[in-house]
Symmetry: D2
Subunit: 342 residues, 4 copies
């Protein structure tokens, strides 16, 4: 049994880690920290976990985590970077669900996140945790930067096409829609049911923090700079991301469907659906699946539909998938949740 710690267990990615790890056969939850809730029973805050676990929140100190083999950070941006170096030096592996280690360029990071990076020298050590791209590197990593939710949905849609150099690099558009859990568990007015319910809107049109992450990764896969148009929208529901991605084939006769199916043949969590499919977010609810559908038009336009559960494949599920790889376990261990439908 591997001993696992979670720093910052009171948000949605934290409680989702708890849900997943509670039934993982090879790990034992050792510590879960929260500065504000220390001493409180986890189940007093999250009654859904009653009788599934028996832990109290503790103070987030290095000492409280020293007995762990691996630590997850489910903290707001800016926290992990202040604790990660010491943990790594103590031989503890880290999966960071926040954005602290996602961008390669510290200056770029500072521009988007509004603070100086506390340990830019560790950015090159961090492996970007998209297992469909980086499984080997992740397996040998000490520090994994867990991808953002939107970037996961967009990258999985585009990976097969970019890796096979099938599409034009200009004019790529990702029109993305997310459930409101992506905004976190902090009380702010815009996320109230009476504000965000029964309505729909775009946000962050002029620039969203996931934009540089998407462009960094797509550029890497393409081997050329990409500046995609990315517009996020807020759905009046809790879980789920749907990305609608618009690209143009270089050669309109290429078999996109086969290309995608081959690319993902050996990946346990990406489902390339039959031609003509329109995946629903509920078809992945509570699970680590990404479902993709490729619609190709006779003039070479391609519309890609990509759905994930933003809290699972878009956050905590993918984090556990990364943990599995880092601990030498099968990457799907403990992640066999069948989607909850209806």
């Amino acid at each position: 049994m591997y001993r696992i710690g979670i720093v910052g267990g009171t948000g949605y990615t934290g409680v989702e880690l708890l849900r997943i790890l509670a039934t993982h056969p090879d790990v034992q939850l050792q510590a879960i920290t929260s500065r504000s809730e220390q001493g409180q029973q986890v189940t007093a805050m999250f009654p859904s976990l009653r009788h599934c676990m028996d832990l109290c929140f503790t103070e987030p100190t290095i000492d409280s985590l020293r007995a762990c083999d691996l630590v997850f950070f489910a903290t707001p941006n800016g926290v992990a970077m202040t604790m990660v170096p010491e943990l790594l030096q103590a031989g503890i592996k880290v999966v960071d669900l926040s954005a602290d280690f996602r961008l390669r360029d510290a200056a770029e990071w500072s521009r988007w996140y509004g603070m100086t990076h506390a340990c830019p020298e560790w950015l090159s050590e961090a492996v970007y945790g998209l297992p469909e791209m980086n499984a080997d590197q992740i397996a040998s990593a000490r520090l994994v930067a867990n991808p953002g939710c939107y970037p996961t949905s967009v990258q999985l849609a585009l990976l097969p096409l970019l890796q096979n150099q099938l599409i034009e690099l200009n004019g790529m558009i990702a029109d993305c829609k997310s459930g409101v859990s992506g905004a976190g568990r902090q009380a702010h007015m815009g996320s109230l049911l009476a504000e965000a319910g029964d309505s729909f809107k775009a946000y962050g049109v002029s620039g969203h923090r996931h934009s540089p992450e998407i462009n960094q990764q797509l550029s890497l896969y393409a081997g050329a700079p990409i500046r995609a148009t990315f517009v996020p929208h807020l759905l009046p529901m809790i879980r789920g991301i749907h990305a609608t991605v618009y690209v143009q084939l270089k050669d309109r006769n290429v078999d996109v469907q086969s290309c995608a199916e081959s690319f993902y043949a050996n990946h346990p969590f990406v489902d390339v659906m039959p031609k003509g499919s329109t995946p629903e977010t509920r078809s992945v609810r509570g699970s680590n699946w990404c479902r993709l559908a490729y619609h190709v038009f006779d003039d070479g336009r391609v519309v890609i539909l990509s759905v994930i559960d933003n809290l699972v494949k878009g956050a905590s599920g993918q984090a556990v998938q990364n943990m599995n790889l880092m601990l030498g376990l099968p990457q799907d261990r403990g992640l066999g949740h069948v989607p909850l439908m209806p």
Copy 2:
């Protein structure tokens, strides 16, 4: 044209007053105050009102309200009681949508609202603003205490039976369900879409602030002390209250339906539906209607179903109905909104 002021225009009852008054033919909005937002355009906060009004928030001072004929308080509890006496002395009428003047007993008020009442001497001056009960008193009042949302739904269900002394006074139960807009526009975690959406729960079971108001009024109508069981629940939607009220007839042969129809025959906003009906909250959405259905069993049990829009008949619509009475206008003036369905 009567000149109207609103103190505290940034919450849901405030913006609902704005929606209703924007098309009222006999009033002109003179001032709307907000300490936090003074100087800001109302429509910058509420884009739904763009091109419907052209006001800025101002500081909430007596001076800014002096030109008004009538002032609404759409403030948190505890604010109106500090400003109302001076307004009344200046000859300005007041409709208070908060709870400050709803209870007759200042000590009782303090117990439930956790503060000392600032002007207990004005409690006897305040008229309880349920027009179906008190229209004449309201018409001559200087200060009207607008009823709470739950108490409105429960009282309208019970009024005909209590006034006609048809039911047992013990064992009355009001199982009430409200949309989340009743919790206001303040950011707190429990009202987030990701918390209150897709779920249902009771709250305040051991004691809710609307409980003493309900008991005070029912006791008044019955001429005897009543201690009803009142359990509020939170619905995963924005607008609407549904009260399910359980009572016992003294004489099982009485014609409850006719009694209720007669009682409400001349009231413009209470609709006694045909026997066997099950009113939906959406059938009153956005309107000042209350719809009632009486189900009588052969053993004298009665189940009463009562629906209102908590922001209209449960708050701002009823407040405008009271204003109409106080200004000598027909009580339904400006309140002809047809419910929005679907």
Copy 3:
């Protein structure tokens, strides 16, 4: 008072016409037909209209409509075309909310709607009822084809740019999201709350009936053939359409904001919001408004956000706006509904 008839009053556009016409000062509802419900009180089917109207459904015959000045068709596709010629010949004006007269080309219509057009000779008589484009023609028309909901949201976004020839005609993308009321009131499994609630998906990717309508109109405005990419999606809510439209400026230095503001300066229902805005569907709920926001990037990409209530500006509200024009009334008569928020 003009006498008005509605053919097919049991669907969502029918009941929305009833809601709007119930308070319209210049019209009187003369007849509302429904084959399946004839003889039934309208309010028995729609309790939200209780005490607002007093009509029964009648058989849909020409005779029952002969006393009308104008008749709305709120029927499934394929019905209006069988009755309209006779009504027109009887001197009765018609606004058709279905798709029967929206396409200029009868063969194209047949391909998309799967039936032969019953009166192709009347297609050229029909005026396309987008008042922001065709107000004069509508005013003198006998037969108006009320636009589809998606096409309305997309056209209003693009009209100023196309009319001023500011954008490239290739590569236009309309990523549209609609509430489920757009699917109508027929019982089919995909529209169940337990199916379409708490989920999100695209549909009709390979071809939706609103696609030829969009392309026909955009081509008309551009004076050149346009084949836009149109992908509709289903929102887990009832009312509202949000179109996110992606286009490319020819000259990146043009002032898009001013262009749009000027274009719509004299149109009563199109609100060009300030730069940087992200309109919410709820900001138009229950009203005839369309709100637009233009986001222009330094490389000439433009993202246009367009929201309407699909049942009002996307259907019945626009139909009444057309009626007003056809009857010589101000086009906003009876359409002053302030959006319902929250």
Copy 4:
């Protein structure tokens, strides 16, 4: 590995059985029948199950089920009773999720379900499948009648109090609220998102089919006839039942909390929450838990709050719990789903 069959796999209880059984360690799905869908891949209808199972729907014949150890009926009422006798005679155990074997009295059954019972002689053979009451009988049963969803939530609330004879038997009230999945997957207008979403109403006030089931069972536990008032309501969400039960203690000094905790101490799926709790339906979403909270007032009134997932503990989860008992497995085998929150 036990071989399992499902008759009627296309409804919500059917697909929920599939979700649960897909990861059950001791069973293998042998056959799933559907008259309308025979030959079709299960995953074509339910994409959420892609890569989790590989079965096609088959014709519902006895022959197709002969190889099974146990068969679930997830069919509309009236189907199981025509097939069950033959299956039992072939030595196959049956759990019936429909209502066919829930009532002891065939005449009563006919009155409520509107048809003659096809095999009244088997009613006495059927064991009512509430494991918290009948675990031993279930373990030796050949035929188990799986309880209704509402009756499960109400019985679990009342069992400790009735078994210990703590409460008055007159005047019991169960005010119940259910998500819309309880209405099944049939297309009917009242369950459309545009009808049942964003609204709330009671239904079946004068008599619901779960009423005789509730009264039969409560009377059994009390040893005296009980006629409870039962009012079901429809929640604008998909999963979850909340029962609010009102009863009166005989002796107001009894310790209700301890009584309930003791009663359920050894039951794996009933959680008696701490005093003062208000359980949310989401705290059991997707799991087989029932959570209970007892609120006792000084005058002996008791308000009991009971939440279950109507598709799990209210249907398919409880059915698998019954299957486990019938097959000699631990009753919680394969039912360790942690609730999905948020």
